[in-house]
Amino acid sequence: MAEEKKKSAWGYVVVWGALTVLTVATWVLGTKLKLGAFSLPVALGLAVMKTVLVAMFFMHLVEQPGARRVVLPVSAVFLCLLLGVTLLEVMTRIRMSRPDGIEEELEPRRPESTRTAPPGSGSKRLMGN
């Protein structure tokens, strides 16, 4: 870092401010407002924004030249691959083998003989055996 010139700390303070605002927003949106089905995507979206800010400024990625800039996009692509394909697979599964599908198993209108959960296990319990 020979050519480093004096940088003021104000940039970091601004980024810190933005992170604080986003954190408060996460808390408000998650607890005060009921977003229903949107709560997960909104929370994840805010988390991604915070991650990018930290990586870019506190981890100095914006200042990097050349090939080192590729690192963040490449990591993002692989993360999307892992999450995207896994979610796609869960969405196309038969209901029974989905984590929430077991409720169907416990449904009272199913004949008892076809249930895998022992009778009497409450509906709170996700899997009886």
């Binding site: 691959l81 394909v85 697979e89 869960v90 077991i102």
Partner: protein
């Protein structure tokens, strides 16, 4: 250059310039670190081999033979964990990659020598923790740690999980180090199209190591958290999804099979060139196929999950994508054969291992395509067929390449020659022993022999006995190699500077190399493996 009297080896080498134990343990020389990794992985191979023999002896008879069922479960876990995590993953990149990669690039060392030493100690710490966990009580989950069983197993899974987690850091650090080295420390004259193909495969491997290993780290940590803190991530009775574990595990572990096999392919390329006296046929295609394999390898992980409750749609997609890997592998095989064709072939031991490699890789690859076909895999999954498939690749191919590298670079590393006849005998024993061990396992699997079972029906016994007999041959072959290599360290004839007349760039330095690899800055004016000139390259 400075030669010892009456010998063509440098008087001062990385081996003799300092000889205290301390100078080894605190070294930052990539060559010494490579040698220490080599000792470490060979020790792991020995340990894993002992466990393997115990398994094979137990399976000699259909009923109980020498151990209790629970001991058997622990034994196959110990075998898998040691072989995969302690031996296969670091074997070629950390040992041989460390030793030859900087020399091939004309560099004095890797980019981060201290980090390189740290990587070795992290590997050592992780391995010791794993071995400690195994000796304390030993897990019975298999090397794959599948949930939900691994979260409830009464054995000590947690230390082993943490040990493997720690070894992962060594993998990541070494990968980063190699990537940086290739980018920043190439000698003048080394364009991107002159980089030796072994270095390209190590580079591709390093990218996988850096991108995929953190996912393994996360999933191991989550299993440990579930065991220790009772979190419900994978356990369905606590609202988790066990298939999620398999997604994360195989997102790492399928690319990890390329962490093992790509460097092996790099070794093969070097050896094929050196002993057929020709530069590789289709350099660019071979380099590109390395990245093809590394990339496509990330899209195929679901082929391990066809019967796990994964969606039919998912299985179909993963099945088709898996077949693509075969295309890139085939490119390499055709190019090796085309290089051999019309070459001036010198059948030394490393080349013998290469021939074994090509033959066995084809078997392993083709059965890979077979088990990636969903309808067939429903029958073969979790049987000996799969065991045979991956042993054909991991032992038949990767271990052959490891032995090829060991024999090809032995004079380079230690400046000694080994007895040729004994090495031929050992190589033939190993190749033959391998086939006798694992070919019967395809047949057993097809008959329905499940993997990880302690007992089996009587009519399968003759195939099991055959397999155990082959394993004994393998063990004999390894014993032979150990004896003559150790013997050669002390009594072997002194090797010439370039024992094989190779034109590979690593031979531009002395054998064994001087402490900083070169006494003056090397210049690479010819293509790598250019055999059109008669004289061997000069030593810098």
């Amino acid at each position: 250059m400075n030669l010892a009297a009456g010998s063509n080896q440098p008087a001062i080498t990385y081996l003799n310039h300092e000889t205290t134990v301390r100078s080894w343990l605190l070294t930052r020389d990539h060559k010494r670190i490579g040698v220490m990794f080599l000792v470490g992985v060979i020790f792991a191979l020995l340990l894993g081999g002992i466990f393997a023999m115990a398994l094979r002896i137990e399976l000699l008879t259909p009923g109980p033979t020498v151990m209790a069922p629970m001991t058997y479960n622990r034994m196959f876990t110990l075998h898998g964990v040691t072989m995969v995590w302690l031996f296969m993953i670091p074997a070629i990149p950390s040992a041989f990659g460390n030793f030859v990669l900087p020399i091939m690039l004309g560099a004095k060392d890797v980019a981060f020598p201290r980090l390189n030493l740290a990587s070795f100690y992290i590997y050592l710490a992780g391995s010791l923790l794993t071995v400690f966990g195994m000796l304390w009580s030993g897990a019975d989950t298999g090397w794959t740690f599948y949930t939900p069983y691994s979260t409830v197993s009464p054995t000590t899974v947690t230390p082993i999980l943490m040990g493997v987690f720690i070894i992962g850091f060594s993998t990541i650090i070494t990968g980063l180090n190699f990537i940086t080295t290739v980018h920043t420390l190439r000698a003048p004259g080394m364009h991107w199209t002159r980089i030796p193909l072994f270095v390209w495969t190590i580079y591709g491997t390093s990218v996988i190591q850096v991108v995929a290993t953190p996912v393994l780290g996360m999933v191991l940590l989550l299993v440990a958290a579930e065991r220790v803190l009772g979190m419900g991530i994978f356990d369905p009775s606590r609202g988790g999804d066990p298939v999620l574990f398999q997604h994360m595990f195989w997102f790492y572990s399928h690319p990890a099979v390329y962490i093992m096999v790509l460097p092996a392919m790099g070794v093969i390329t070097e050896v094929v060139c050196a002993y057929s006296r020709k530069n590789i046929f289709g350099y660019k295609m071979v380099a590109a196929s390395t990245f093809g394999i590394a990339f496509v390898g990330f899209f195929t992980w679901g082929h391990h999950m066809f019967v796990s409750g994964q969606s039919t749609f998912g299985s179909g997609v993963f099945g088709v994508l898996s077949m693509l890997v075969a295309i890139f592998t085939a490119i390499k095989i055709f190019n090796w054969v085309a290089t051999l064709y019309g070459g001036s072939i010198d059948l030394k031991v490393p080349l013998l291992y290469v021939l074994g490699f090509i033959f066995l890789l084809m078997f392993g690859g083709m059965t890979g395509v077979a088990v990636a076909t969903t309808s067939l895999d429903v029958h073969w999954h979790d049987t000996y067929f799969v065991v045979a498939h991956f042993h054909y690749i991991m032992v038949g191919a990767v271990l052959m390449a490891f032995l090829a590298a060991l024999h090809y670079w032995w004079p380079k590393m230690f400046g000694r020659l080994y007895p040729e006849r004994w090495s031929f005998l050992a190589a033939m024993t190993i190749i033959f022993g391998f086939i006798v061990t694992f070919l019967p396992q395809f047949l057993l699997g097809n008959m329905g022999m499940p993997r990880r079972y302690y007992e089996y029906p009587r009519e399968m016994q003759w195939l099991h006995v055959l397999s155990t007999a082959g394993a004994s041959l393998l063990a004999f072959g390894f014993g032979l190699i150990a004896i003559y290599l150790l013997w050669s360290l002390r009594y072997g004839a002194e090797a010439p500077v370039n024992a094989w007349g190779s034109r590979g760039y690593e031979w531009y330095s002395g054998s064994p190399p001087v402490p900083h690899n070169f006494t003056e800055a090397p210049r690479f004016e010819r293509e790598v493996h250019d055999y059109t000139v008669a004289e061997v390259p000069r030593v810098y």
